[in-house]
Amino acid sequence: MSTVTVIDPTMTATREIEFRDALREAMSQEMRRDPRVFLLGEEVAQYNGAYKVSKGMLEEFGPRRIIDTPISESGFAGMAIGAAMMGLRPIVEFMSWSFSLVAADPILNNAPKMLYMSGGQFGCPIVFRGNDGAGGQLGSTHSWCVEGLYSNVPGLKMAIPSCPEDAKGLMTTAIRDDDPVFFLESERMLGMKGHVPEGDYLIPFGQAKVRREGTDCTLVSFGRPVNFCLDAAAELAKEGISCEVLDMRTIRPLDIDSIVRSVRKTNYCVVVDQSWSFGSPGSEVASQVHQHCFDDLDNFVHRVHSADVPTPYAFNLEQEYLPNARRICEAVRSCLYRA
């Protein structure tokens, strides 16, 4: 086995690769390291993946470990769960998390409960991964943000990276984790480039990263909207408002300690979450902040979510539907009584 290092925040990589390459590097490095790891899903093998995440993997690892499946999410997800229970470490690619809804019974009703229901006899070390959220004019049935629905279930873990470096480190941790990990990517970010270290490294779950330091308002987000937050923070800086942007990286487990530390400093908190507002990770974060920071808040926790409607198809409506930088700026000003 190769040496494993927990990523050092000061570690710098000079090499720039795309988000999809970072995911592939993590999967390939783990497959070289551990023969139990394999990948299955629609078009992952011969087509190199619908979004080219698994490009070249069939060539390296062969058809026994890179497996094309029929369009049957419930079937192949259930099969993979059985393989995990028997000791393998499957990675299941959903072309889109929207399509995982037909596999809700195996992924929600079986995988996260297996360890509990079998009294510890069977675990379920599996990674479900795929594109989450609005991909860009895909319409309402193909634009699901599943974190609101799925993070509600005890027994699973959920990682939502916002940049290539985190994508690789979190994927490595996900594959080695002994519990089912729901790994949410974004079609809009697969082409994003970033500095990514070459070796294998682990980013521990439940450790938020401060993506931008600030003093006036804490912005809490995860996944793609972290980038909206960084845009908003740059805009607000011109108005003299200094935002601290926290990237949660995983929402189960949730690093509430880092949020509390920041909110105690700023006294204001805005949560940005691209899922719908009702019963969402954002509402859970707000609730916990109110619980832990009650005497530190100068205003209630403000939240920016996708609009409470099915995702629109029209480009302009879809842009407005998302928790974009302009809506974040408005929420921060309102929270700071500067609207």
Binding site: N267, D295, D298, Y337
Partner: protein, 433 residues
């Protein structure tokens, strides 16, 4: 439920009030609008009315007692109601009998709103819960800020973090360690806070009126927080005195007599149009330029009314002619010296003039009347040997000294303003149109 009547805020600088006389006694039936008591504020004695119908169940303080605004002073029960259920209100009042214990710190937000008599504060009347954000409440405790005297700038008057920070800054260095040098406590008047005064043989003590306390507090606050500086100019008054003599002769049948001060008020007010920063207030992080030109005139009060001084306000002075300015000033001065001015006569000055010319003073400097940015101190118009057109002759001149808030007005601006005032005074026909 019985209604608890609290000491109302009857002027924008009021922190505490004294019940001079109760007009009702326990058991009396009262109706909305009835006068409950005469209340002495820092500047005036006013009637306090009830806003509820019912029976006076309890008077919680006696005549002569001085309490902070918001303190319960009476309980009114509706007919048939058990007045004893007001017991909680009574015990909460803890009717302080010494002024020192009763007077609260004033940390009111910078006054930019004028014209209302009763200001909403963080505490609604009747002991309702204060609207304040959690962190503001915590900071207020840590910094020793009295939230009851604050007006919140958040939604619905909610007191928020910036209000506490502003109040703490006003207290001085924002720390608990600043023991309210501007706090109007009778036992330790602001003006003497830094040096203990020992009463020696033959000395006597004079009770300090509410007005005297207000003067002490506001002027210490002004002199210690505003970066004052002075700019003086001497005006040739000969043309003006000649014009005044002619006008007064012609106006005599109408009972109008213009004073030199009336001309100065008009000259200053007209100059505001060209120099708006003289009609402005420093508001912490910005400057507010006022929409109205309201010139305050310092009026001293006779000893039989307790002495002291008040600032009577000539509203929209830039839009009034000399005749109206004269009539307004006389009416206000007369009212101040006989019945006393009401809050509406004293609120909202945006610039102040203090004139000691009638006492033969040559020149002096004045302390800015917050939240003004400038005050003009005028001496007497006196005959002096002067040089005019290279000739030594006798002329009448007046020395005026501006005191300025350097945060708002720089020296060159002050010079320009005085030049405009001089032009107005030395070409007095311009003041007629």
């Amino acid at each position: 439920m019985p209604t608890t009547v609290t000491m109302p805020r009857l002027s924008d600088t009021m922190e505490a009030g004294t019940v001079i006389k109760w007009h009702v006694k326990e058991g009396d039936t009262v109706a909305t609008g009835d006068v409950l008591a005469d209340v002495e504020t820092d500047k005036a004695t006013m009637e306090m009315q009830t806003y509820d119908d019912g029976v006076v169940a309890k008077l919680l303080i006696g005549a002569g007692d001085r309490v902070a605004i918001g303190t319960p002073i009476a309980v009114i029960a509706v007919d048939g109601e058990d007045a004893s259920s007001a017991g909680a209100a009574k015990s909460a009042a803890a009717a302080p009998t010494t002024a020192a214990a009763a007077v609260a710190t004033n940390d009111e937000a910078p006054v930019v709103v004028t014209g209302t008599v009763v200001m909403p504060s963080a505490h609604a009347d009747n002991g309702a819960r204060a609207r304040i954000s959690p962190v503001a409440r915590r900071m207020a405790e840590e910094l020793g800020v009295d939230i009851n005297s604050l007006r919140g700038t958040g939604p619905g008057g909610r007191v928020i973090k910036r209000d506490i920070e502003a109040a703490a800054t006003r207290k001085g260095s924002g720390a608990v360690a600043a023991p309210a040098s501007i706090m109007p406590v009778v036992a330790a008047p602001a003006a003497a806070a830094s040096m203990p005064v020992v009463a020696g043989p033959g000395s006597r003590e004079v009770a300090v009126s509410g007005m005297r306390q207000t003067i002490a507090r506001r002027l210490v606050e002004s002199k210690s927080t505003i970066p004052h500086y002075q700019v003086s100019m001497r005006f040739n008054m000969d043309p003006l005195l000649e014009l005044r003599k002619m006008l007064n002769a012609q106006l005599e049948p109408q009972g109008v007599k213009l004073s030199v001060n009336d001309f100065i008020v008009r000259a200053c007010a007209l100059a505001m149009a060209q120099h708006p920063y003289f009609n402005a207030s420093w508001a912490g992080d910005r400057i507010i330029i006022h929409g109205e030109v309201n010139v305050g005139v310092a009026v001293s009060l006779p000893a039989e009314r307790g002495g002291g001084l008040v600032v009577a306000v000539i509203r929209n002075a830039d839009q009034k002619g000399l005749r109206q300015i004269s009539l307004d000033t006389r009416a206000l001065a007369e009212k101040a010296r006989t019945r006393g001015l009401g809050p509406e006569d004293m609120m909202g000055a945006t610039f102040t003039i203090s004139n000691l010319g009638m006492y033969g003073v040559d020149n002096f400097t004045a302390i800015i009347n917050p939240p003004n940015s400038a005050i003009l101190a005028c001496g007497a118009a006196v005959e002096r040997p002067v040089v005019r057109n290279s000739q030594l002759c006798v002329g009448t001149e007046l020395d005026a000294t501006l005191s300025l808030d350097h945060r708002v007005i720089d020296g060159a601006m002050a010079a320009e303003y005085l030049t405009t005032v001089r032009h107005n005074l030395e070409n007095p026909a311009t003041l007629l149109v």
